[in-house]
């Protein structure tokens, strides 16, 4: 604690509007930001992280009441600042990078103009200089072909590139404080690693005070100087990064840390003698879009000669960065889309060559668990129906199906009363359990899980993974497990296939893949996983 803080938040209390799930979004929080240091704020979703960030920029929604506390900056209390006061401060002294690179940029404005706006807002430089400066900034954040990127619209850049543009914008006026609100959540690991590197580098060079919000402990362990842990709007623990990591005091912190999956694959029994549950041979899929009478088509090859098999009782992981074709393979296997070529065999049945009634009948053998626990349950159907609908469609007596649904709910750890409730009355983790129950209702032989836990908080994620592991063992299921999180893959998969641009570049038993990656892409992927410290600790 050598340097004095630039900003101190003292006993901040922000009340939520009546009718919310809890009275305070932020309940008596205090912490400091110090020049040249990175403060990481962690905590599960809804714990009040973004509220703190928004309070620092005076961007709180007007439904939130500032009940008590103080944000001291440069001798002023930011909480009582008026609008004009904020205008001078925002961007110039305090800048922010938002979580969603997709939506945080105005879709109708060129990147360069949006950066130049930063200077314009504070009446700095001439329009020409602003343009040059924008170009220079894009250079600095390492955007490829900056000359072209300044003129690009947001949609013409990838997520990572957009995020860099956002960072360039935030850094334009060399603010004293940089607030980064989950700036990497939407990015894949390799891009995330680059962005983290960039922020750390800039922060050191400019001696900024950085508040970095994340719920990913891996990220925290890579960059934090200090850590604040939030739960339900309260600080449960704060201190130097090392202290929090190695000597966590609060049980919540301990739970969070424990839930971080390890990079070390647990030992697994070999399954070589089992029969094949699924066999995928030579799958090809190319998306063709556009292509009217006079229009050029756009083609994306999402699956290139994909071959793999899954043995009975085996879990095969499919990893790779965003857009590599993982979901496409899953949907091909499920026959939600038609392959251009290739075959999917379930046992002896050629799943790709049947149609109509036969297809509907065979579908019960392979079921899917979807990524988004919010989007995968029909909000207008009761949970009981959601689970029982499938068996009823396959001719099960409704009463029997409902009886079975109740049992399944018990199996995934939910109460029988859940039958009569609607999905929105459940938490994310609970909903994912409902989704699992639905998949199990048809007593399938194979389950395909596409990012089945990515949308969940780490602690909830751990529970669901355990549940899956347990069910699989008990029911003897085979599983295709799709994820971009190598830690998760390490914990649950018997074998892992690595995908890049539609092709499987490497397919090996988990332990072998982690210890001796062969393909350069696999190595790159492994290297980009954040949080070496925590993983070594957890190991």
């Amino acid at each position: 604690m050598s340097a004095s803080p630039v900003v101190s938040i003292k006993n901040l209390k922000l009340a939520l509007p009546s009718g919310s799930d809890r009275p305070y979004a932020v309940d008596g929080i205090s912490f400091d930001l110090v020049p040249g240091k990175i403060l990481c704020v962690v905590g599960e979703s809804g714990s009040g992280k973004s509220m703190c960030a928004h309070a620092l920029l005076g961007l709180l929604p007007d439904t939130i009441i500032r009940e008590a506390g103080e944000i001291a900056y440069d001798g002023r209390n930011l909480l009582t600042l008026d609008d004009t006061g904020w205008l001078a401060l925002r961007g110039r002294h305090i800048a922010i990078v938002f979580q969603e690179p997709m939506t945080a940029l105005n879709p109708l404005m060129r990147i360069g103009d949006q950066i130049a706006e930063m200077f314009e807002a504070h009446n700095l430089l001439t329009p020409r200089q602003r343009k040059q400066k924008a170009l220079q900034l894009l250079h600095e954040v390492g955007l490829p072909e900056p000359e072209r990127s300044v003129r690009a619209y947001p949609h013409q850049l990838s997520g990572g590139q957009r995020q860099r543009a956002m960072i360039a914008m935030a850094l334009a006026l060399e603010p004293t404080i940089l607030v980064a609100d989950e700036p990497t959540t939407a990015l894949d690991v390799t891009t995330q690693a680059q962005i983290l590197e960039l922020i750390r580098d800039l922060q050191r060079r400019r001696n900024m005070a950085v508040m970095f919000i994340t719920h990913d402990f891996g990220v925290v362990s890579d960059i934090a100087d200090r850590v604040v842990v939030l739960q339900h709007g309260k600080v449960v623990e704060q201190g130097a990064a090392d202290d929090v990591f190695w000597r966590p005091q609060h049980p919540y912190t301990c739970a969070l840390l424990a839930a971080v999956p390890s990079m070390q694959p647990p030992p697994r029994a070999p399954l070589a003698d089992r029969a094949r549950a699924v066999e995928v041979v030579g799958l090809d899929k190319t998306y063709v879009s556009g292509g009217g009478w006079f229009q050029p088509e756009r083609r994306v090859q999402a699956a290139k000669q994909v071959n793999f098999d899954i043995l009975q009782g085996e879990t095969v992981g499919l990893v790779g960065e965003s857009g590599s074709g993982k979901s496409s393979v899953a949907r091909l296997v499920m026959r939600l889309i038609e392959p251009d070529q290739g075959t999917v065999r379930l046992g002896d049945t050629d799943f790709t060559r049947i149609a109509g009634k036969a297809l509907r009948r065979e579908r019960s053998r392979i079921q899917m668990i979807f990524q988004d626990p919010f989007a995968s349950l029909n909000p207008r159907r009761k949970v009981g129906n959601i689970i029982a609908d499938g068996p009823i469609a396959h001719g099960t007596d409704p009463a029997v199906a409902r009886q079975r649904a109740t049992e399944l709910l018990g199996l995934v750890g939910l109460n029988a009363s859940a039958m009569e409730r609607y999905p929105h009355e459940f938490s994310g983790g609970q909903r994912q359990r409902i989704g699992i129950a639905r998949a199990l209702a048809l007593e399938p032989e194979i389950i395909v899980a596409d990012e089945a836990v990515s949308a969940l908080d780490v602690s909830v994620q751990a529970q669901v993974l355990n549940l899956l592991e347990d069910l699989k063992a008990r029911l003897g299921l085979s599983m295709l497990f799709i994820t971009h999180d190598l830690r998760v893959a390490a914990q649950i998969c018997d074998r892992i296939a690595v995908m890049q641009r539609g092709a499987i570049v490497e397919l090996k038993p988990t332990a072998a893949l982690f210890s001796a990656p062969e393909h350069p892409y696999t190595r790159e992927l492994l290297a980009a996983v954040p949080g070496k410290i925590s993983s070594s600790r957890a190991a």
Binding site: L57, L59, D83, W86, L87, A88, L89, R90, G91, R92, A95, I96, F98, E100, T103, A104, L105, N106, P107, L108, M109, E117, M118, E120, A121, H122, Y153, H155, Q156, M166, M169, G290, G292, W293, F294, Q295
Partner: protein, 323 residues
């Protein structure tokens, strides 16, 4: 871009032909025919008279033959001959189209400008009395039958105050030229264009308001605020521009229908436009003329849709890539 336009035009031609055939059949289902109407108007008639007329109009031919002849004409851009007015349909329409275009375009521009302005104000002051006032006013405009508003406007501005002319397109016999003529036509235009625009004005105001409130919640608006931009700039540059996209779509859909919807306004204000022509042609069973107006109106709708799409593409850079 040219490819896109060509593709749209090709589709438009197909739709237009379908409309021609459909309407041709539809209109023939109506009781009576032009010969009957003209016979009725003459105050006396006999069988010879009616037969003569039918022969002259080609109505003695079987329906498929008539249809074939008509479609053949259309393909060669010949809209045929008006039975009643004894003139090429194309000429009749060409005479009246400019007036309708002037009226509808003015009504459209007025309603769009004022509607967006009021919508913006309402969104800006959402929840205040100004917002409530604008919303209520818009609803009243929306809910009042046009022909009633028109009459009220005439009574108020022409009869009571004598500010504006109540009928026609220009002061007949005044023979104004140059700027005086423009002013004269302008004065005649105000009442019909405004009455016609009121409904749409209300629609756009409400749509703009809703759209702006929606856009305001987007993250990039927060980004803009975080830059320290002044509120006025944010509203204009970030919120309004994005909010206008759905308004543009709606307006494009409506601009085309405005032309066909001008019947009432043109009738009440004696505006010499194509809407009235259509209505009269219908009453007189002037088949070719009626079909001609339909074709032209539909072409107009398609043209407006195309223009809207082009504008949309110009305003929204995402489109080009997406399609």
């Amino acid at each position: 871009m040219p490819a896109f336009i060509a593709q749209r035009l090709a589709k438009a031609v197909v739709v237009l032909l379908a409309i021609v055939v459909f309407n041709f059949m539809l209109i023939r289902m109506a009781p009576g025919d032009p010969a009957m109407v003209m016979a009725g108007e003459a105050g006396a008639s006999d069988q010879i008279f009616v037969t003569q007329l039918r022969e002259k109009f080609g109505l003695d031919q079987p329906l498929p033959v008539q249809l074939y002849r008509y479609v053949k004409g259309i393909v060669t851009l010949d809209l045929g001959f008006s039975f009643r007015q004894q003139m090429p349909v194309a000429k009749l329409i060409a005479e009246r189209l400019p007036a309708t275009l002037l009226l509808t375009v003015t009504a459209f521009v007025i309603s769009l400008l004022i509607g967006v302005l009021f919508g913006t104000l309402a969104a800006r002051f959402a929840g205040t009395w100004a917002d409530t006032a604008i919303t209520i006013l818009a609803l009243i405009f929306y809910a009042t039958p046009l022909f009633w508003v028109a009459l009220m406007a005439i009574l108020l501005f022409s009869v009571s105050m004598d500010w504006l002319p109540s009928f026609g397109y220009e002061t007949v016999g005044a023979n104004y030229t140059g700027f005086a003529h423009v002013l004269d036509v302008g004065a005649h235009l105000i009442l019909p264009a405004t009455t016609m625009g009121l409904f749409f004005m209300a629609t756009y105001a409400r749509m703009t308001r809703a759209s702006m409130l929606e856009v305001k919640r987007h993250d990039f608006v927060k980004t803009a605020r975080a830059k320290g931009l002044r509120d006025a700039v944010i509203q204009r540059r970030h919120v309004l521009r994005n909010a206008l996209l759905p308004v543009v779509t709606l307006a494009g859909l409506q601009a085309g229908t405005l032309v066909g919807g001008a019947v009432l306004t043109e009738t009440v204000f004696a505006w010499p436009g194509i809407g009235r022509l259509m209505y009269e042609a219908l009453l007189q069973r002037d088949y070719n003329l009626l079909l001609g107006v339909f074709v032209v109106c539909s072409a107009m709708v398609l043209a407006f849709n195309l223009i809207t799409d082009l504008i949309y593409r110009a305003v929204d850079p995402r489109i080009e890539f997406a399609s």
